[in-house]
């Protein structure tokens, strides 16, 4: 093999990984939402000391509130199939779908989103190859269709729910607080710190800044990623002024990673 050519085995595997990474990006975000609940910021890496909010543990303003109705229907299929959800209970607005892939493949949900499993995913525990969607019900339709290739196997659990999106809170300074939802991001985003013992809020603008902001040039982006550090931002009560802790952001790993407060850095974001 010539050293001036990229190893074809490596190149083919890398190519496949890139395709999966690109096409999986929406799925990854959906997974996070499902596993960690609303309030998480896409692309943010959280480290010890601060965990994202789990729905149901602490229900802040803006969170969707799902009330299960009836009994879950579970079905396992190979290839595309339509699942009958049974009679719709009174008050049902949405159906909660949880799909676990049993073989590699791409599985299309009724709302147009899709999830993709590869051989690496299948070697992981079931929770990491499970995707969940809450899909609004269409009038008169009590079935769910999953589209996939003929040899792809999957298990689906479906449950009728009543979904209500609670409104964000507004504090005395007129700032909205709560979790990110279909209406956007509030001024103060709900977080949980101290292993779930403290509930509070971070400023959306500070969180964005501490996560790298919006780099204006390659030089800026490179300089940011070269910084091997964690950045801490204050956690407030819903009034946005009383500090009750700190939230640490950063993807750096290794021994002795410094944590620096955002306020000590002169970042323009």
């Amino acid at each position: 093999m010539s050293t001036t050519e990229l190893d074809p085995v490596f190149a083919a595997a890398l190519r496949e990984t890139l395709v999966a990474t690109v096409e999986d990006t929406p799925r990854v975000r959906r997974r996070w939402r499902w596993r960690l609940g609303p309030g998480i910021f896409a692309g943010l890496t959280l480290v010890a000391g601060g965990v994202a909010l789990a729905a149901g543990v602490f229900s802040p303003p803006g969170a969707p509130l799902d009330t299960p109705l009836g009994v879950a229907v579970t079905a396992t299929h190979t290839g595309s199939a339509t699942i009958d959800l049974g009679p719709r209970p009174a008050g049902a607005t949405d159906v909660s779908l949880t799909l676990t892939c049993l073989t590699p493949g791409t599985f299309d949900f009724p709302d147009g989103s899709s999830t993709r499993c590869n051989t690496v995913d299948l070697s992981q525990p079931p929770i990491t190859r499970t995707s969940s969607e809450v899909v609004p019900l269409s009038p008169g339709i009590d079935t769910v269709t999953i589209d996939t290739s003929a040899n792809a196997s999957w298990t689906l659990q479906a449950l009728y729910v009543n979904r209500v999106t609670t409104p964000w809170g507004i504090n005395a300074n007129g700032k909205t607080y709560g979790v990110t939802n279909q209406n956007g991001t509030p001024d103060l985003i709900a977080v949980v710190i101290d292993q779930g013992k403290t509930q509070g809020y971070v400023e959306a603008s500070e969180l964005n800044c501490a996560s790298g902001g919006d780099p204006k040039s390659i030089a800026q982006a490179l300089a940011w990623s070269a910084q091997n550090r964690h950045i801490s931002i204050p956690v407030y009560e819903s009034n946005g002024t009383t500090v009750i802790g700190t939230f640490v952001i950063g993807g750096a790993t290794g021994p002795n990673i410094p944590t620096v407060p955002l306020s000590s850095l002169s970042l323009h974001c």
Partner: protein
């Protein structure tokens, strides 16, 4: 399939819309140039492969801030590969598990084998690499883009987010420094060879 650079802007636009095949087409188009550049920077087949993989993963991760020069992402890839190769451990940490899991052909020869075959070529390559590593990171990227990848100083300036004038000034300074470094390394090499011969 992207057959030429003229198809690249459309492919990049499609890739940004989560089209995996379009992103793969960009990979097909630039993977050899990125790999050759990584080999130049690392002189180690495995490291060059790792840098190539991390460069394309970074292209996706940082897709929203990638600077496209004359319709191409290649200058950005070269800058990123330069920086990743300069600090392998830190640059690859994010993707380490993923890259290690990628299969490789069994008959990859070691750097030593290659070195034995191409000893003079390798000696020169090593001098270039050492001289590059002695430059500031942005100057190393500037030299890589203009000297090895034949971009104009104006195009390199766009890739690095600096003015044309600043690029030209820095390029002049970096070239002089690079030449001095290579001359010093070549002299040191000659001295070593002479000593060995006289033993």
């Amino acid at each position: 399939m992207v057959r030429s650079n003229t198809d690249e802007p459309a492919a990049w636009a499609a890739a940004l819309g989560n089209d995996g095949d379009a992103f793969a087409a960009i990979f097909d188009l630039h993977r050899d140039r990125v790999y050759h550049h990584a080999l130049r920077m690392t002189a180690n087949v495995h490291d060059a492969e790792d840098v190539t993989a991390a460069t394309f993963l970074e292209l996706w991760r940082r897709r929203k801030s990638v600077r496209v020069v004359d319709g191409s992402v290649l200058p950005w890839l070269i800058v990123t590969a330069t920086n990743l190769a300069r600090n392998l451990a830190r640059g690859l940490r994010r993707y380490q598990a993923l890259i290690l899991a990628l299969p490789r052909a069994q008959d990859v020869r070691s750097a030593e084998d290659i070195a034995l075959e191409r000893i003079e070529e390798m000696r020169i390559a090593a001098q270039v690499r050492e001289a590059l590593s002695a430059l500031a990171p942005s100057d190393a990227a500037l030299i890589s883009l203009t000297l090895f990848e034949h971009y104009s100083p104006a195009q390199a300036a766009v890739a690095l987010g600096i003015s044309d004038g600043a690029a030209r000034t820095r390029l002049h300074r970096a070239r002089t420094r690079m030449a001095t470094n290579i001359e010093a390394l070549a002299t040191a090499d000659r001295d070593d060879t002479t000593k060995e011969k006289s033993r």
